[in-house]
Structures are given as C-alpha cells and as structure tokens.
Amino acid sequence: MNSSDQVLYNDPAPRLDRAGIAKRAARDLVDGTTVNLGIGIPAMCADFLPHGVELRYHAENGILGFEDLSAPGEGDPNLMDAGGKFPKLVPGMAFFDSVESFNLIRGGHIDVTVLGALQVSKSGDLANWMIPKRGIGSIGGAMDLAANAKRVIIAMEHTAKGDVAKIVEECTFPLTAQACVDQIVTDIAVIDVDRENKRLRLRETAPGWSFDDVQSRTAVALEVEGDLGTMV
C-alpha cells in the first residue's frame, strides 16, 4: 500500500475522529488495572472509560492513582503528569521519583499502556519516536513502556498523510520496541496482533467500512476469525 493514489478520495464513510479512537481504545481497559496513557490520542482515553471502570493511572514523572484530565490548565507545576497536563488529586494516589517510576514500568508492573505510533508491523514491532528524515527524535518513556508493559495498545490514525499505510510488513522507521504490540485501534479498525505467528486479525471496522476498505489501507494481509464487528 505504498502507492495509494487510488484510495485517496474514496473513503466509504467518515473515519472516526481522535476522540472516537480514544473511546474505542478505552472500551477494553479493565477495572483496577495500572495503566499508562501516552500523549495525544492515548491520553484522551481517560475521558471515555466505561461506567464502573476505575483505573490506576501511572504517569512517568512519578504519580500513580490520580484522576486523569485531558484538559490542559494553569495548574500547579509541582502537580503535573508526564504529558504536561495537570491531573486532579484523588484519595489513594502516590508520588514518587523517576527511579521508582521506571521500576514500575521496567519491572512489568504496568498492566496496560496505550501509545501512539508512526508504524506498526505484523509482528508487533512499534516505531513511534523518530521520523528518519528529521534525524532527531524524542524517546521519553516510550521504549520502556512498549518493551515492558504487560499489554500494549496502539491508538492512532490508520494511515499517514496521503493515505500512506502505517500498518506494515516491516517497520522502516527506527523501532521503539520489537514484537510488543497487542492491539491496534485506529480511526477505521480494531486489529489484534498475533505476534507469535506474525499475523494481524481484523476484529472490527468503523461504521460503513468493509474488510476490503480497511485492507486497501493496510500494507499487511489481514485475517478475520468469526464475525467482523463494528466499532462503537
């Protein structure tokens, strides 16, 4: 799907907006788990948690158990999250330093992380920190999270500008981590990554989008098991 002229102007239906992607990604988050949300679309998941689901949010800069707010604000600079937002203090939260914060990540104690991506491969490789032509990029906590969280969910737009595929056979951008992605939630699809067999299973499509519509915007052959669902 590198030559993509034929699909540029024929989306069969609207794609989900950024909030829609976040809302769908949030649906699979499990009550009581420790979760780290990356900046951008992932952070917006906090606004769409299913009823009754309470997460233990972790931010790399040293908070656990706060209430995540996606709205920026003029907060206290000493009470910031890793994305530069100002979280709401709630009973039962805790502050700690970066050593402890990355023990939690590296030690595999983060249940789920939701991250953005530039490219994801069929084997679950993730590239999300540098565009090669720029030659410089920012890693932050992404490599630690991607390599060590128990479950990695990617929340992103399905294609890059010009409908260039971001879901690819092999990443051409510098990797963030190998074989780490469990699930991909985009503006047109939900895809499970079977890392062991290097296969992608299309689970859901956006309303009005068919298997072929999604496949034509994906550079990896997708599989389907059972019924294809619709993203809600």
């Binding site: 499990v30 009550d31 788990t33 023990n103 104690h109 128990k150 062991e196």
Partner: protein
C-alpha cells in the same frame, strides 16, 4: 472468593499470561492469606531482623499451614530466637528459624544466618549441620539489590562487593574503569510476606521508622505480595507524599488483631 478478575492477555514474549487484578485485597485471616502457598515455594520474609518490620503473624500462619521444601529469603535470619536480637526482653522471639525448627525449610538465602556464638545452636545452623538445609550467605547490599532488581526488571548488575572473597567464587568478574566487579543476578520469589504500619484499601502502604528495611523491595519482587499491617485505612489517609509501597505491588492485606501482644 470474589476477589479478583482475570483478563486473558497475549502478554510479553509471546507467552499467554493471565492478568489478575485484585479488586478487594483485604483478607480476613492470616490463615486465609497464606492458605494457597504450596510446598516448594520461595518465600521472601521482610524486615531487617528483629521484631520491627517482621511479618510475624504471617510467618506463624505459614508455619501452621505446613507447606514444606520452602526456600526462605530474608536478611538477618534466625538470630533473634537464640540471642533475643531486636526483641523486647519479656517476649520469646520469633524469627525465620521457626521454618527450620519445623523442618519446613530446605534452604535459606540471607546475609546473617548465625550469631557469633554456637551455644545454643540456632535452628538454621542445626539444620545446616545435620545436612537438612542449604544456607546461601549473600552480602546484605548484594541481597537487597538482587531483590530490588527482580522488581525493577533488571536481570543482572555488577557490584564491587565480594571481590576476592568466597562469595565471588564461580561468578563472572569484569573490569570497569580499572576496578573489578562481580556479576550478580536478580532474585525473584513466589511469595513475599511483608509488614507495614498501615495499608489503605487500595493497597498503598506506609512504613514507620526502621521497619522499612527489606519490605519495600520484596513487595516488588514476588509474584504474590502479602502484607501484615496494624491498621487498614481509607484511601487518602496515607499521605500521597509518604506512600512507601505503591498499591500496584500489593496483592493481599491482613490486619492484626487490636492489642496483639506480639510487636
């Protein structure tokens, strides 16, 4: 017991793992908290040595539960029962020696397994002399760092401690900047029995004074962490600036009875 929910997860390294999240971590009895510990388990026991910070009620419950072939991991071990170390004079001290006295432990990994004198012989030394228990003596700083590494996702590290001593035998030696170091590996356990002053219902722990010691690191290094506390409070009672162990690390909480005569 409706304490946990499971989520199937394809997990790291392409192994299927089961993500179990304890929703209600509070267990009503010490017996219940250790009931499922099988024979052959490795069990970390927190504290430093002495009564402070030691999960004494959990230890007694595990002794009574009867699991055998245990590997005990602790720091100062078996000293209190023979010397009174770290216990008030009017009480009979309890320490890791109870698992050797009962024959439940087949191995201990610790830094200080015997007192200076051999009269009376401690339970650990007796079991060792009789060939009933293996004793692995580890420098204290290496022991705590190995435990910390297990919780922190670090499989191995280099340390200057122990070079040229018996603990260096069989270990990789490596020079950095002209100095020699030893490679030491992470030390995990199946269970950690730890002690804290307070827990909130989420599982955040607060420690007091010198009772921290090995407890916070052990909480991160075991598959299941069980904590004995004097008090359980609502979230928010423990100051967010003073949480000593994060709730994520704690699986089970048991409260001591009011007025428990044991320290």
């Amino acid at each position: 017991m409706d304490r946990s929910r499971s989520v199937s997860d394809s997990g790291r390294k392409d192994r299927t793992i089961c993500l179990t999240v304890a929703i209600n971590k509070i267990i009503n009895s010490f017996e219940g908290a250790v009931a499922d510990i099988p024979s052959g388990s490795s069990v970390m026991i927190g504290g430093f040595g002495g009564a402070g910070g030691q999960p004494t009620r959990l230890m007694l419950a595990l002794r009574d539960q009867g699991a055998t072939d245990l590997t005990i991991i602790g720091n100062v071990a078996g000293i209190s029962k023979t010397t009174g170390y770290g216990w008030p004079d009017h009480l009979d001290p309890i320490d890791q020696g109870i698992f050797f006295e009962s024959g439940q432990a087949s191995k201990i990994i610790c830094s200080f397994p015997v007192p200076g004198t051999t009269n009376p012989l401690s339970d650990i030394e007796k079991a060792w002399r009789e060939g009933n228990a293996e004793v692995d003596i580890v420098p204290q700083g290496t022991l705590i760092e190995r435990i910390r590494s297990a919780g922190a996702g670090i499989p191995a590290f280099y340390t200057p401690t122990g070079v040229g001593t018996p603990v260096a035998e069989g270990k990789e030696h490596r020079e950095f900047d002209g100095q020699t170091f030893l490679l030491e590996t992470a030390l995990h356990a199946d269970y950690a029995l730890i002690r804290a002053e307070k827990a909130d219902t989420r599982g955040n722990l607060q420690y007091i004074g010198t009772s921290r010691a090995f407890n916070p690191a052990m909480a991160t290094a075991a598959r299941v962490t069980i904590v004995e506390v004097d008090e359980i409070v609502e979230p928010g009672v423990i100051d967010a600036e003073r949480v000593g162990t994060l709730s994520t690390y704690v699986d089970r909480i048991v409260k001591r009875a009011e007025g428990d005569p044991l320290p």
